[in-house]
Amino acid sequence: MNNSHDEATARSTESHGVERTVAAIWRIESARIIATLTRLTGDFGLAEDLAQEAVIDALRQWPEQGVPRNPASWLTAVAKRKAIDGFRRRERLDQRLAVMGQELEREQESAVDELPWDPDEIDDDVLRLVFISCHPVLAREARVALTLRVVGGLSSEEIGRAFLLPVATVQQRIVRAKKTLAAAQVPFEVPSHGELPKRLGSVLGVLYLIFNEGHTASSGTDWMRPELGQEAARLARGLAALMPKEPEVHGLLALMELTAARFPARVDAKGEPVLLADQDRQRWDQGKISRGRQVLERADALGRGRGAYCLQAAIARCHALAPNIEETDWDQIVVLYEALGRLAPSPVVELNRAAAVAMATGPESALRIIDGIRATGALRRYHLLPATRAELLLRLGREEEARLEFALAASLAGNERERALLQAKAAGS
């Protein structure tokens, strides 16, 4: 490994600065380091432990010795040495140990700029890491925590902060997830062709979940936590680079860009939510809109049709391109929701279709769709069903009924700011 340290860095940086540098390096390298270690040890849980231990060593040693020129090699080599020590202790002198020993020796002789992994294999290894972190054998919250920590390089503290969870809970989820994966003997592999659509669906679902948690925080006092949205987009962007031929990966990324473009306009000066119709569209992020459009075009250019994420991205694009709510292409949005409903029938999609129909044809036909949803008994605890119904009733001049629906919606809303907004409407202000 590389022993030449950047002395200037060592002199100028105090230990606090080094901590931030270690965190930054870890954000960049964690996926590749853990993927490499998993391939070498054949044990994902062990690989993650080793990598974390290497980070602890870095935090101890770098303030004294300076940050190494090639920090990824340093971290990987330290983790490998720990793996070898561990195997020796448990007297598991097998083939893997020999391979790692040879690699360590070779790396010590090799140049400083040498990569600690095989450039031809690393992308696949990172993909394997993504698929194992989002494996269906895990509970959804475990997939989220594991993906953010292992692929995203976030610390348990950062994940806890983002999800308003105690650090201990996050750590528990990760420990349990690793045990579950080991018990189920989940292989470190990219799913085979036949299995891929379903498994990719799970991966995209995890990223979308992370994004949505940033988009509308499901609990707590903040309306949005944009850094989670950013993290999800980063993961999606990376996945799109690794799987450029999968339209839905691009679709999800496009959906995130086009939705996040509206973030700056979604709260007012007092931190209150501003609904789409009232948003100041000049505050929408044009850079994100243009990136989202480009990514959606890339998905369409693959010529494999539009999946659920591409369709939702196309809907978001209709909004992004419209100068205001009235001049939005609602007919197009209705068509897109119909397509989405055929592909993935869901009462939430149906509710959104109703909202679009209200704009395209009028509140009466929309009200019929919503009453249809209600008749099935679906979405009884979902605040947006009565909230949407209330808005339609208002447009029809049925104010008393509208107030009752707003009150029902307020009682179901999980987000405090959203609840306050609905209560105000229920009070008729």
């Binding site: 990376g238 100041d280 992020d285």
Partner: protein, 141 residues
């Protein structure tokens, strides 16, 4: 957080760069860009053509003064940029340090303004708030 990595070079750096085979530069830059794309951090990146093709518009005098490039005695030339989205300045610096650049090259790391820099209580938005309240009151009357 968005950062712009601004590539600059001294005349000497530009000369040194011109001695590297073009294919090599393309390959190194391609690899660097790819690594940032696979990490999901790269939003944009462009290289600029030779300064000889450029012009400078100088606003020191009343009428903006246009000078065609090359600009004679220059210390540093602006050659290209990347825009990356990362979680900290340290991370931006780590990416900058990986750029395939050599002697005479400088890479400036600058944060790009985001919505967080434009507080929602600025004058323009307050005006709009006032207008909205007025509309609401009018609606109730």
């Amino acid at each position: 957080m968005k950062f712009m990595l601004i590539m600059r070079a001294t005349d000497e750096g530009v000369k040194a760069y011109q001695e590297i085979p073009f294919e090599q530069i393309i390959e190194d830059m391609g690899k660097y860009n790819e690594s940032m794309m696979k990490a999901g951090v790269m939003l944009a990146g462009e290289g600029l053509s030779d300064a000889a093709e450029g012009s400078v518009v100088d606003f020191s005098s009343e009428e903006p003064l246009v000078t065609d490039g090359p600009y004679g005695e220059t210390k540093e030339l602006f050659n290209g940029f990347w825009i990356i989205e990362v979680s900290s300045k340290e991370e931006a610096i780590q990416w900058a340090k990986r750029a395939p650049l050599g002697t005479g090259a400088l890479l400036e790391v600058r944060r790009v303004h985001g919505p967080e820099d434009f507080p929602a209580d600025n004058e323009w938005i307050q005006k709009e708030e006032g207008w909205r309240e007025e509309q609401a009151q009018r609606g109730q009357a």
